[in-house]
Symmetry: C2
Subunit: 422 residues, 2 copies
Amino acid sequence: MSTTTTGSAARRAHESRVLAALRDGPLSRAELARRVGLSRTTLSETTAELLRRGAVVVVDTDAATRRGSGRPAERLALDPGSGQYLGVDFGHRRVRAAVADAARETVASGVEHYDDDTPWPRRLDLAFRLVDRLAREHGLHFGELQAVGIGVVGPYGGWRVDSKQVSWARRSAPHDVHGAFAERFGAPVVVDNNTRLAALAEAVSQPEGATDLLYVRLSDGVGGGLVVCGRIGTGAHGFAGELGHINVDPAGSRCRCGKRGCLETVASAPAVLAACRARGVEVTTLDDLAAVVATSDPVVEAVLRDVGAAVGRVLSTAALTLDPDEIVIGGEIVHVAPVIVEQAAATLRYELHPLPTDEPLVVRAGRLRDTDGALGALAAAFHLSPLLAGYPQPEAADGDADLRGTLRTPMPALHARLRRAL
Amino acid sequence: MSTTTTGSAARRAHESRVLAALRDGPLSRAELARRVGLSRTTLSETTAELLRRGAVVVVDTDAATRRGSGRPAERLALDPGSGQYLGVDFGHRRVRAAVADAARETVASGVEHYDDDTPWPRRLDLAFRLVDRLAREHGLHFGELQAVGIGVVGPYGGWRVDSKQVSWARRSAPHDVHGAFAERFGAPVVVDNNTRLAALAEAVSQPEGATDLLYVRLSDGVGGGLVVCGRIGTGAHGFAGELGHINVDPAGSRCRCGKRGCLETVASAPAVLAACRARGVEVTTLDDLAAVVATSDPVVEAVLRDVGAAVGRVLSTAALTLDPDEIVIGGEIVHVAPVIVEQAAATLRYELHPLPTDEPLVVRAGRLRDTDGALGALAAAFHLSPLLAGYPQPEAADGDADLRGTLRTPMPALHARLRRAL
């Protein structure tokens, strides 16, 4: 696996054009030249480099049938065995990686588990081993990667540095993640909240794409993501979509964020399991829950309906704010307990019923299950979707310790503004 | 006042370039030609038309000092007495109009009052008379207007047609408004929710502009507006920003939207006055309220703090969803009772305190008071702000009865999508 440093942005752009042209099928050099509009010299240099790295291979030479002494009519094609993009999703308890080839098709995906309190060096090591294993098992050879997308747990993710919990924007871990991957693979890296990346993956998972999508994920934590006006919404400081910390019960349990009664204290997978246990139903895993749900246990049904109603109330406030055309509820638990989605949809139907629209709002469970974050990280690495207009390009490590710099385009300086501090 | 029909979009675009060039000061025809980059013929036709309409005047001819027989060195300048843009804000009980000249400076503004149940023909008549009066009082002459922006009350506005209350998207009134203004002024018209336009006005009222702004207006009703990723957010069906109908009290009063305990039932100006009266404080107008607030009446103070807390809770859910850098609370009542903004800011401070950011969120009262909607309508008519990327251009009446067509760019066809109806 290459560890050379990144080439120029221009070279990568040329490579992208050549690779994009070859996605439709093999092309002769002459056909390629017409399609990509690069100078003869640039095209020649670009294809030579792609051939050297194995991203592109020569196919269909007509040497066997050719008459005369002309140069062989080579055709160039993408090598499906070449890993070109890497998407990595670091969750609370596992890292998932997905690899896409030059044609941007996912060619491998895998997972490694760890404990919630595993320190970052160990998480990184597990991720690198996972990528090595995927390469071995799937017969992949990595040329120089085009880009790496990485999802990390959001602002309340409980990042630990020196055994202290540090805050999201100030933590050093994500910079280490960015730097570690940039160094390991010599490729541009983009890092973002993994739930936002999951929202991106759900939005691009349908042919037409969604222009206004609201996404919430019920997992070890509860997070969300937005597509607004056909663009991934990050917010002013990278915190857009923090639906898990909207209050649903003023007198509720203490949340790890420090507030009380956040949606996460009610609708995260551990909170749902705990609520079942508090009602005397012994479940410790989602598999246990699935078994009880299969019996139509009325106590569990009531617990799950309460969870769905809380999710629906929070989604209603977000939907009245944003007016999405689609709402997606993700996380393994919604597949184990679909009544959560049904009840959330019913609550949304009530809260939005006065809105006069002929187009019924779509409310559905996530399609992508546990791969959503890694696929979204890949999508961010491709940086091709119009959803990513204004979203940062993957970039090489530059020593910027502030994650926000990788989350959004630079903002106008705000400090000079006369403001009334909160 | 001209009632001729609109010229071509190209002609208007040429005129816009000439007018924009002249905003910095008078220019000779030669200087103008260099600045606008139009062909000699097109420039000549364009300036002739602008001179004919009085939008542009000739200044500084050097006939008095010129020697020889050459053509006079005319310079062209904007005519500050020429009304070029009209912004109109139809509220529940008044219409406000503002006029901007070719340099996009507001040159006149005025208001006419009516009852909440005034039918639309009468409202239109009052608006047209108001515009005539402004022209008379301010010595304005209207050439052919460049564009008209119009704000109307949002989805819960209680539009009445044939003495029945009709829903927002299906009502015929806004189309009448669009058509009536297009016919009366022979100009392109853009219509939108007046609260969204007020948000636009607040966002453009500061030199740097806001990239992520959340706006709520406490008025006869309660509405909101968004700037997301540096663009005005309309949502998928034009309903984005309906903060007034987020639930704040499940067992609360019936709202005119049909639900219970919406923010509007607690924080609209009439609701606040009613809450004071229910506590034995006889106030029927905002002036009455101002007088009681001046005495620091503790009962009224408690009522207002409850209102501010409810506003703050709703803004918190929206802020956790959107992560804005600025929150603006508008409406006359926040100037009469600033404690509402103070309490809302305190509630927001609590709900957002776990978010690790060095940039304190700005929470402030609206700057623009009652002119906000009309100024936002003007801004929409200018269609110059980058906030309006993707927002519809003003357009001539075309018989499209569906307001949504004027609210957002066309969406990809969604009907074919496999969907789970709400």
